[in-house]
């Protein structure tokens, strides 16, 4: 029997699937729903110091079979309320709940790490890679190794909870960034956030999203994500949460073979509904049985020869 239970950074997971940040997860109740539906852990929507309303307008559009582009603009309740949501939700489940923080300055990342630690999340994911708030905050920290390392150090200084730095494909060398954050003390990396992109409506000659550009997720992102995981696994020893385009059990195993220890799932919730987790879990078991694997751990990094 294939066993889906595994562990990463001290977190025990009954499935390697983790609800990715920003997908139907602004409240604690939403995290619990993902867990009920079969996720091994769940990551809350990125939290900032102050509440944010996000972009107005056309913020998300699905495209070409199973892909999506979004520019939500990081709407969230702000740190104060997010702490309450996490504490209340954690009372109702044994599964690990993971925080996710976002800031425009290194200092604010430190402040958020210190504050969110009060909720005692199982891990803190650090979103240095949102492609959709460029106008407001400039180039994301994930674009350059030094900037990414600076944030990592500051966050580490402010918390004793394991941290995962969320990397971006929108950089010249993701493996260089991965190496830099590992050296700066990261316990884990999440690979990857969305890939910057644009859709244009040719009838009106206007970009479809109100923000003009957005982040690509879903199927179109998968090969980019798998390569990012592969490249990072080559150069770092810390575990990787592979994220991007996981819609089926096969996709999840691809990420694991590239080097992921756990797998984020986002856009699949749109295409397959809230039951995406249980469906992908079942498909993984099926594939593992077919291929003769008994555990998640034995498949990690198998594609590296």
């Amino acid at each position: 029997m294939a066993d889906l239970s595994t562990s990463i950074c001290g977190m025990k997971l009954r499935s390697p699937l983790i609800l990715a940040s920003g997908i139907t997860d602004t409240t604690g109740a939403s995290l619990l729903r993902a867990i009920r539906n079969g996720a091994g852990a769940a990551i809350i929507k990125s939290v900032s110091v102050e509440p944010r309303e996000g972009h107005k307008g056309h913020v998300v559009q699905e495209f070409d079979d199973l892909s999506m582009i979004n520019a939500m603009g990081l709407p969230n309740q702000g740190i104060k309320h997010a702490i309450d949501e996490l504490i209340e939700a954690q009372k109702r489940t044994d599964a690990p709940l993971i925080a996710n923080i976002y800031a425009g300055t290194v200092e604010d990342f430190g402040l958020l790490a210190r504050e969110i630690s009060k909720a005692k999340p199982a891990m803190i994911e650090v979103n240095i890679s949102c492609p959709n708030v460029h106008d407001e905050f400039g180039t994301p920290f994930s674009a350059l190794p030094e900037a990414a390392a600076k944030v990592t150090k500051e966050v580490k200084k402010n918390t004793s909870i394991p941290i995962s730095i969320k990397l971006s494909p929108n950089t010249i060398a993701i493996s260089q960034v991965a190496k830099a954050v590992e050296k700066a003390g990261a316990d884990c990396i999440t690979c990857i956030n969305t890939l910057a992109g644009m859709l244009i409506d040719i009838d009106t000659a206007v970009p479809i999203l109100s923000n003009l550009s957005g982040g690509i997720s879903g199927k179109a992102l998968k090969p980019v994500a798998v390569k990012a995981v592969y490249d990072c696994h080559e150069v770092v020893k810390i575990p990787i949460i592979g994220t991007g385009g996981v819609l089926t059990g096969r996709d999840a195993i691809e990420h694991i073979m590239a080097g992921a220890g756990a797998v984020g799932v986002g856009t699949a919730l749109f295409y397959r509904g809230q039951e995406a987790f249980s469906l992908i879990n079942a498909e993984m078991k099926e594939e593992m049985k077919r291929l003769g694997y008994k555990s998640i751990k034995e498949m990690i990094g198998l594609a590296h020869h």
Binding site: G22, T24, T26, R33, P51, R52, K56, E62, H81, F270
Partner: protein
Amino acid sequence: MTLQKAMEMGVATPVKLPIAKIVDEAKDIKTFFFTHLLKSEPGQFIMVILPKLGMRPMSISSDNGAEFGTTICGVGPLSNAMMEKKPGDIIGIRGPLGKPFSGRGNHVVLVGGGYGSGPMAFWAERAIARGMDSKKIHYIVGARTKELLLFEERMRRAKVNLHIATNDGSHGYKGFNIDLLRQVIEEAKHSGNPLDMIYTCGPELMEKAVFDVAVETGTDCEISMERYMKCGIGICGSCAVDPDGLLICVDGPCVNKETAAKITEFGAYHRDASGQKVYYKKG
């Protein structure tokens, strides 16, 4: 769902439609008609998109197969911009979205408040078009005053049982539509032909009062809920309700009595654009 099915469903990009006709319904309330095959069911909604102003959920207030309407109340930037629109102006529309009312019930009462009367009137017209006897439909509409009542003429033409309440007594019963609801339920019970379904759409505290009457009288009911919706397609989570994280844009907006009973925030609070709780003011 299976991936195959998801692929077959394809993707829905917004359409850009010229306004075919605009009808003034009441002060700052207008219905916008579009000539388009929307294929919607009563209770579903669309996203109205205006460049720079945003994308906002609006209920479908009529759809006869050739033309659909949405009834908008001017309350803020986007809805007020709609009030300035003229026939021929182009509007971005995404939909139909969400779960409609079920259509169940052989003797039903529709309770609408404000622009929530739109989906109620649409429900009546669709049911009649499908063969329901108009005398088996009660339409209760309430407003502060006569000028704010919606779709009275339209429902008179549909020949449903019409019950009108105004708070100031300027038209129909003086009082709240909840009082009328109790009366209608009582009368139907005494005449030996009890009501078997209540549908409601309107301000949340009114809906909650209707729900309480449904529980009290043991009548089935369905409610169209409103929550802040940023995407309308079940991806962003802004419309999630406590305690189970149901997404009102895809698991609703129409919910049945059992579901409504489990939503602890129903009638208590909703969330704003950032996700912070906003408590309803009682009374």
